[in-house]
């Protein structure tokens, strides 16, 4: 059974008394615009600031953290769509091969959203855990794709210098970014279309 039911999983309750229902502000064009502005800001930060924040040789993937935060707040479909748009913009901004980032972020956003349906995201732990696991999977799949495209790299280098430090940095960024994202999006948890009451 793919759809969570209240009897099997804890229902995700709205924050601060806000209820997501059809036709609420969360479905308005203005809301979509706010999400889009957040994506643009995230991509620009990833291309201008993040490369300079090197810790132990790794650089944070702030766009992935943003995608996961939105997925945790809004659910799998928003997560997938936001992941796709973010990946696409990132590929454009960095003149990378188009499709790789959108593919990976779409999967990460959808999976993050699905995970959020079964946990209490009032706690700071789910964003950190989700980002940590998503970072590892995304970086690993990225490495596999690059390997299939003929680009070789040592496994130990990829694991120790890329995958793990990036995941740790992402997890550390997750809690503050989750709070900021939720504040910016107005505290809503789910789009009306995908709330199962």
């Amino acid at each position: 059974m793919l759809s969570p039911t209240p009897s099997k999983r804890p229902r995700i309750l709205p924050v601060k008394g806000k209820t997501a229902s059809p036709g609420t502000a969360s479905e308005s064009p203005l809301y979509a615009l706010r999400v889009f502005a957040l994506i643009i800001l995230g991509v620009i930060i990833q291309t201008t600031v993040a490369p300079y924040l090197t810790v132990l040789g790794a650089k944070p993937d702030s766009t992935l953290v943003l995608v996961i935060c939105i997925a945790l707040i809004r659910g799998p479909v928003w997560g997938a769509v936001v992941g796709f748009c973010t990946g696409l913009l990132l590929d454009v901004a960095l003149m990378q091969t188009m499709g790789i980032s959108s593919f990976l972020y779409t999967l990460a956003g959808y999976t993050g959203g699905r995970y959020a349906e079964g946990v209490d995201i009032e706690s700071w732990i789910p964003p950190m855990v989700t980002v940590f696991i998503a970072s590892i999977v995304v970086q690993f799949v990225h490495a596999v794709i690059m390997f299939l495209l003929g680009i070789e790299a040592s496994v130990s280098f990829v694991l120790i210098r890329v995958v793990l430090p990036t995941a740790v940095l992402g997890a550390l960024l997750a809690a503050p970014m989750f709070i900021l994202t939720r504040w910016w999006l107005g505290g809503d948890r789910r789009g009306a279309l995908f709330v199962e009451q």
Partner: protein, 289 residues
């Protein structure tokens, strides 16, 4: 209702993944002037002014971060730099003499047909406004594009040495493929003239000089410069120094590790070298695509 929602979700996911995979396939198969490449350049025209603005605003914060992290290694680096300064001071004097001698010898040998780097080249100063944080893609974005005279394939340098080559251009920005990228290949030689080969980048941002004849003598700290062979890069630009030269029985060629002069992590300003009018552009295909 729940079933319908699940189907809807999965349909959205499937469509987005399929579109991504289709883009990936088309991007690899299409030429540089194809739809996706053109769309990408169009998108970059819009994004690059935003990047430039944010980069300028955040510059003080980046400087503060670099200063704070620099403090950690400052004490140990201080001593090393003092020693290095002494050595370099001596080398500067020697190089000045060598430059005078070089000029005289050039006159004698009548090198008029050779491009005399860098005098004949016009330079376009540019600021780094974006860079890839991914180890799979060592590129930077600069704030000068075709409007300023930047074109594909032009060599990009910093005060310390070779940075890379223009790999994509829009009207107001350009992408530079760094020499440490795994797609980068630079025809190079030792400054001593004893060996020549190809300097290639790698995912771990190290340089290797490959295809060097095993019989050639290579020693640590030999300076590696671009050879200009194939006209992909300007001749004579310093790349780095030999870190290690390995001779393995099973290899046809000597493999040399090269430590680059340029610190690619802290690049802020670069110079794009524009060849003299009438000189053909060195590269006419997009690198790395």
């Amino acid at each position: 209702m729940a079933r319908k929602t699940v189907v809807k979700r999965q349909a959205v996911l499937a469509v987005l993944l399929l579109v991504s995979m289709a883009m990936l396939t088309v991007y690899f198969r299409e030429p540089v002037g194809g739809v996706l490449h053109s769309t990408q350049r169009g998108g970059l025209v819009v994004i690059s002014p935003l990047e430039s603005g944010v980069s300028t605003i955040l510059q003080p914060f980046k400087d503060a971060y670099a200063w704070a992290s620099g403090l950690i290694s400052a004490s140990s680096e201080n001593e090393r730099l003092r020693q290095e300064a002494d050595i370099l001071r001596g080398e500067v004097i020697a190089l000045r003499e060598a430059a005078d001698e070089n000029r005289r010898l050039r006159d004698l040998l009548d090198f008029t047909n050779q491009p005399s780097y860098p005098q004949d080249y016009r330079t376009i100063p540019a600021r780094v406004i974006g860079r890839s944080a991914s180890p799979w893609n060592a590129t930077i974005t600069i704030n000068q594009g075709s409007d300023a005279g930047v074109t594909m394939g032009q060599t990009v340098v910093s005060g310390k040495g070779l940075v890379g080559q223009i790999s994509a251009v829009t009207s107001n920005s350009a992408q530079v493929l760094l020499i440490v990228d795994h797609n980068s290949h630079v025809e190079a030689k030792l400054q001593t003239g004893s060996a020549a080969g190809t300097v290639v980048g790698s995912v771990n941002s190290l340089l290797e000089m490959d295809f060097v004849d095993k019989n050639m003598k290579v020693t640590k700290n030999d300076v590696v410069v671009s050879s200009g062979t194939g006209k992909l890069f300007v001749k004579g630009v310093p790349i780095g120094v030999v870190e290690e030269a390995a001779d393995q029985e099973i290899e046809y060629f000597k493999r040399i590790s090269v430590s680059p002069f340029v610190d690619f992590g802290s690049l802020e300003e670069v110079l794009v070298l524009v060849p003299p009018a009438g000189t053909s552009q060195p590269l006419d295909t997009e690198a790395g695509s």
